[in-house]
């Protein structure tokens, strides 16, 4: 168990309502110190609201927020030792880069010499020491983003909040910034709470991710947990691509279950650990990632395979995607790497067997 001092932010039973509309239902979260924690979800899921609650821009309707063990729900935003990197950066347009970075230090009444030393260090951290006297409008999007980062880091916040900071950048820059952000976080040694709707961003940078939808936290875990062991249908569907097949539990077999598919097929599958309510007869979905299905022309004997007709064969450069219609009518996607030179992939119209790789399927109760 982690000790209190290792916990940076704790939210317990946080609710947020705007009139009748509920933005957050009942959110409880613990974010560890020096952790890169990501709030991931589609727009309108409440992730930004949650961030704004931590920042102090929104009140909670009910519940409490703790920062390093101290309740801060009643602390105004300008007294919270947390800083935010805004989605549109919100760099003060009339101040130079250096003045922007100095702003928080001046407001905290840090002595001038110390403040300018700190600002210089921050600009070096983001490699913009030569741009100190420029105005934000004279910088590129990527540079502005770094200034925003330096500005928020300068007052040495206990937690840094980042609200979709990469969404305004183009793809190449976004990819480079992911790595850089992670490096800066490790170097600065502070907790980052990162909000994004981009799962790739979340998976590459985060120590842990909270997947949110409709004002609820759906799952919290490492990138690995979230991708490989989704605990519910939403997470399975939202993160990466998934084939979700209607199925029903027939038999419980230790930590595995036997599932029945509509076509009469039986498949053995793993199941999420906290689903103790699953018993024979439970209906749900069998989740199989497209890359966990492999094509074999010969009939499989060990039972964990599906049969169907290739409907579409799509060449995607590194991968080939097959759309296969199963015998009972549902379609599944199959992804195969193209590096395997010897393998001939079936064309549309051919009948194929799809082998489910071991550990490649997961039963999710409805």
């Amino acid at each position: 168990m982690t000790e209190v001092s290792d916990i940076a932010v704790q939210l317990s039973n946080v609710k947020k309502q705007y009139g009748e509309a509920v933005a957050l239902h009942d959110v409880s979260l613990t974010i560890n110190d020096k952790e890169f924690f990501t709030l991931l979800g589609p727009s309108g899921c409440g992730k930004t609201t949650l961030l704004r609650i931590i920042a102090g821009f929104e009140n909670v309707t009910a519940g409490s927020v703790f920062l390093h063990g101290k309740e801060i729900a009643s602390l105004p935003a300008n007294q919270r030792p947390v800083n935010t990197v805004f989605q549109q950066y919100s760099l003060f347009p009339h101040m130079s880069v250096e003045e922007n970075v100095l702003f928080g230090l001046q407001m905290r009444k840090v002595p001038t010499s110390q403040a300018s030393k700190r600002a210089k260090a921050m600009l070096e951290l983001v490699q913009l020491e030569n741009f100190a006297s420029r105005l934000p409008s004279q910088l590129s999007g990527g540079q502005q983003q770094r200034v925003a980062l330096a500005r928020a880091l300068a007052p040495e916040p206990e937690v840094l909040l980042l609200d979709e900071p990469l969404s305004a950048l183009d793809l190449k820059l976004r990819q480079a910034m992911r790595i850089e952000l992670k490096q800066i976080q490790e170097e600065a040694g502070i907790t980052f709470i990162f909000v994004t709707h981009d799962q790739e961003e979340a998976l590459t940078m985060s120590d842990r991710i909270a997947v949110m939808s409709a004002g609820n936290v759906q799952q919290i875990g490492t990138s690995h947990d979230i991708y490989d062991a989704p605990t519910n249908r939403f997470v399975a569907d939202f993160i990466g691509e998934s084939n979700l097949l209607d199925s029903e539990v027939v038999k419980i077999d230790g930590d595995r279950v036997q599932c029945l598919l509509p076509g009469g097929l039986h498949v053995s599958s793993t199941v999420s650990d906290n689903n103790s309510s699953i018993k024979p007869g439970t209906k749900g979905h069998l989740c199989i990632r497209p890359e966990r299905l492999s094509v074999s022309n010969a009939a499989d004997t060990n039972g964990n395979s599906l049969t169907g007709v290739v409907v579409r064969h799509i060449y995607l450069g590194t991968d080939t995607q097959l759309v296969v219609e199963l015998t009972h009518g549902q379609t599944v996607q199959v992804r195969t790497q193209n590096s395997d030179q010897g393998l001939r992939l079936p064309a549309a119209g051919e009948t194929v067997n799809l082998h489910i790789q071991s550990g490649g399927s997961r039963f999710l109760s409805a």
Partner: protein
């Protein structure tokens, strides 16, 4: 503990939303005390008895409205008829304001369109040129117009010299002069909102219309005008409303025979008539007319937005 009543912490929303009432209070107070209360007081005054040298006696009376609408003869003993004098002044005002709006639209729309379709460099020049008169003192502009169109003024002199006319056109102190004055006063009010609407218009729609075999006029009628209609309506309101209550143009260019509402009201307070309740009643009637126009506008706005 914090879970019980965290709403009192005053950190909600953007930086200034918590200060909403304090920020708005000065404007509410100023306008409330110095405009809303005065207008209500004016309503009260319109139901009081007049005092002869201006001012009122605090006695309830509907004499002002009675005088406005009904003719009871010189000694008040004749059969009651409708009094047309004041109603006619109102009708004349509405017609004049309507005509001014029509003429402003006739010139203002093509001008606004022309400016909005200029390349950015010359557009700024045109816009500047149209904006300047808007900022010039209305009194000075009206006086200038009076100077220009006098019987012996520069306009008549030139026309005589050029041989276009053989004797001066008599414009001053006619309804035509008032119309010219109103048109001239409020023309920029028509151009600017229409310009703003045309400037936002997506001209790809014109190309699409032409692509679908519409000709120029059809495109104008079916595509452009519907799209810039809010600007046209705003322009019409901005010309019609001040024209209706105008004082300077009818007073300086129209003379005593071409009274409009503004002069009628002014007469009751500043002039010889000195009938405050009657002036207040006429003002209330004018205000009601304007409110009807504005409500029509607001309803139209709401409908076009939904």
């Amino acid at each position: 503990m914090a879970g019980i009543a965290p709403n009192n912490s005053g950190v909600d929303g953007a930086a200034f939303s918590g200060l909403k009432n304090r920020l708005l209070l000065p404007s509410w107070l100023t306008i409330g005390v110095l405009l809303v209360i005065p207008v209500l007081l004016m309503l009260v005054y319109s139901f009081l008895t007049k005092e002869f040298r201006g001012g009122v006696v605090w006695e309830f009376s509907i004499a002002a409205y009675d005088q406005f609408f009904l003719d009871r003869g010189l000694f008040g003993d004749e059969p009651v008829k409708i009094e047309w004098t004041y109603i006619n002044i109102f009708i004349r005002s509405i017609v004049q304001a309507g005509l001014a709006t029509f003429f402003c639209l006739l010139i203002g729309f093509p001008t606004a369109y022309y400016i909005a379709t200029r390349p950015p460099s010359t557009r700024a020049f045109w816009l500047f040129m149209v904006t300047v008169p808007y900022w010039v003192n209305l009194l000075i502009r009206t006086v200038s117009m009076k100077f220009l169109i006098r019987d012996s003024g520069p306009l008549n002199q030139w026309l005589l010299q050029l041989g276009v006319i053989s004797e001066p056109i008599h414009l001053i102190n006619t309804n035509v002069a008032v119309q010219l004055g109103l048109f001239y006063s409020y023309l920029p009010f028509m151009v600017l909102p229409i310009y703003a609407a045309v400037e936002r218009f997506d001209f790809a729609l014109v190309e699409a219309a032409h692509d679908l075999y519409a000709d120029r006029m059809t495109t104008l009628r079916r595509v452009l005008i519907p799209a810039v209609k809010p600007g046209i309506i705003a322009g019409c309101i901005l010309v019609f409303v001040p024209s209706l209550g105008a004082f300077l143009a009818p007073d300086l260019l129209g003379g005593a025979k071409n009274f409009m509402i503004g002069s009628l009201i002014e007469e009751q307070f500043k002039g010889s008539a000195g009938n405050w309740p009657f002036g207040a009643a006429a003002s209330m009637i004018l205000l009601s007319l304007v409110l009807v126009v504005l409500m029509f506008y607001a309803r139209n706005e709401a409908r076009s937005r939904s």
